[in-house]
């Protein structure tokens, strides 16, 4: 299929492995899905140490189930990326360990306290879910299919995240203050989740033309702010003064003052070159190496016991 035909036919779940897709499409889709999969892994690893810090058994069960889900989402997504025939799952995991794999800005920051957990569990996951819901109609069918399962599970994650926030914000004054501090630290990062502001070009980018992306970052940020600012306020969180956010009531639109956000840091993170990047990527790489023997055992078992090796995530 040539690129013009792809653009003409682009629509929800239009293309699948039985279509002969041009290299440009396959590379763009791989880049996007690999980024998404990497982010699931890095989010899961960032949250994992907090399972043992959960304040109650109920939270511990729920939070460990949630972290497990995120790793499962990564497997689904690597599978969807693999189906494009550009990179194998192993290659993508190795790239992540070597610091070449890119992932979401929010997961480059170390997390220190439980008060930060709902910042990821409610606001970052909420932002991610907003985006993922629109990807149910991406043009690469295996990607959309993975989103069905991911969105099915994310309802629990986001509601549980909101419940953690509710719990903290209805408890002691000290807890409320610490939660507010965590919120002020994470809020600008969450807004940067949607990329640079006022970037008209993203909407007309290649990914949009071939139907991989169905909404622009600006549209997604608007929808997120519309929903989550009232949420934060309902729990008594104060929206920080910086970045300044101007609400245009007549248009029902939020304007984020771009220069109030630290874009140098954002672009350093995008290159995996932030202090936290090295820390997060390094600790995950260590853990990948630590369980190398398990993979080796499984590989040798498969080779010895069957002619055909099952595919990853079977």
């Amino acid at each position: 299929m040539d690129l013009d035909t792809v653009k003409e036919r682009a629509g929800p779940r239009q293309f699948s492995p039985k279509d002969d897709m041009p290299q440009e499409y396959r590379e763009a889709a791989t880049r996007m899905i690999q980024f998404h999969a990497n982010s699931e892994v890095m989010g899961g690893y960032l949250e994992k140490p907090f399972i043992r810090q959960a304040p109650s058994l109920d939270r511990k069960l729920a939070f460990s189930a949630k972290v497990q889900d995120e790793i499962g989402h990564a497997q689904l997504l690597y599978r969807a990326a693999e189906s494009l025939g550009v990179k194998t799952r192993d290659e993508m995991l190795d790239e992540l360990a070597e610091g070449k794999g890119k992932f979401l800005n929010c997961f480059h920051y170390p997390m220190k306290t439980w008060y930060e957990v709902p910042m990821i569990g409610f606001f970052v996951d909420g932002a991610a879910m907003r985006r993922q819901a629109t990807l149910k109609s991406t043009s690469w069918e295996p990607y959309a299919h993975a989103m069905d399962k991911v969105c099915f599970e994310e309802g629990f994650h986001v509601k549980h995240g909101e419940d953690m926030l509710r719990e903290l914000m209805t408890s002691s004054k000290a807890n409320q203050e610490r939660t507010q501090e965590a919120f002020e630290e994470w809020w600008p990062r969450v807004i940067q989740f949607f990329g640079p502001v006022n970037s008209q070009s993203t909407h007309h980018g290649f990914a949009a033309e071939v139907g991989l992306k169905t909404k622009s970052n600006d549209e997604l940020r608007q929808a997120f702010l519309n929903t989550y600012i009232p949420k934060a306020e309902r729990y008594g969180l104060e929206i920080p003064d910086t970045p300044e956010i101007i609400y245009h009531e007549d248009e029902g639109r939020y304007e984020v003052v771009e220069e109030d956000l630290d874009w140098d840091q954002f672009w350093t993170i995008a290159k995996n070159d932030y202090d936290g990047s090295y820390e997060q990527i390094g600790s995950r790489a260590d853990r990948q190496e630590a369980v190398e023997w398990v993979r080796e055992q499984m590989d040798s078992y498969e080779t010895a016991h069957s002619g055909t090796a099952p595919q990853a995530a079977d």
Binding site: D58, L61, A62, A65, G126, M129, R130, Q132, A133, C151, F152, E153, E154, G155, F156, V158, K159, H160, E162, D163, R166, T227, P230, K231
Partner: protein, 113 residues
Amino acid sequence: MIWEVFRQEKPGGYHRHVGNVHAPDREMAKLFAQIQHGRRMQTHSIWVAPQDEISEVDDEDTSFGGTTDKAYRWAMTYNRVDASGIQEVVESEAEQRAAAKKREAAKKEEADS
């Protein structure tokens, strides 16, 4: 020779164990299974497998788990928050609710049969 029989009602559904047939070979087993287990009820496909080929592990051999209440896995559990303003969360919860209903129905069907 005994062959265990598994019947599937509709495409995409599970093959459920429905009993067994005595037959000298695979072809006869398929034929008998059709007559005994496929004719009277809606059937889309039938599997037969030699009884010797079925392996079992039961609750005396191992502990299966699966008895933990997993309510914490479902959005419906977290009712002290109101997610009605977040459309995609509402949709996800509706899907989870529908899936729970389906599981209940399957459980009931199993208990009735």
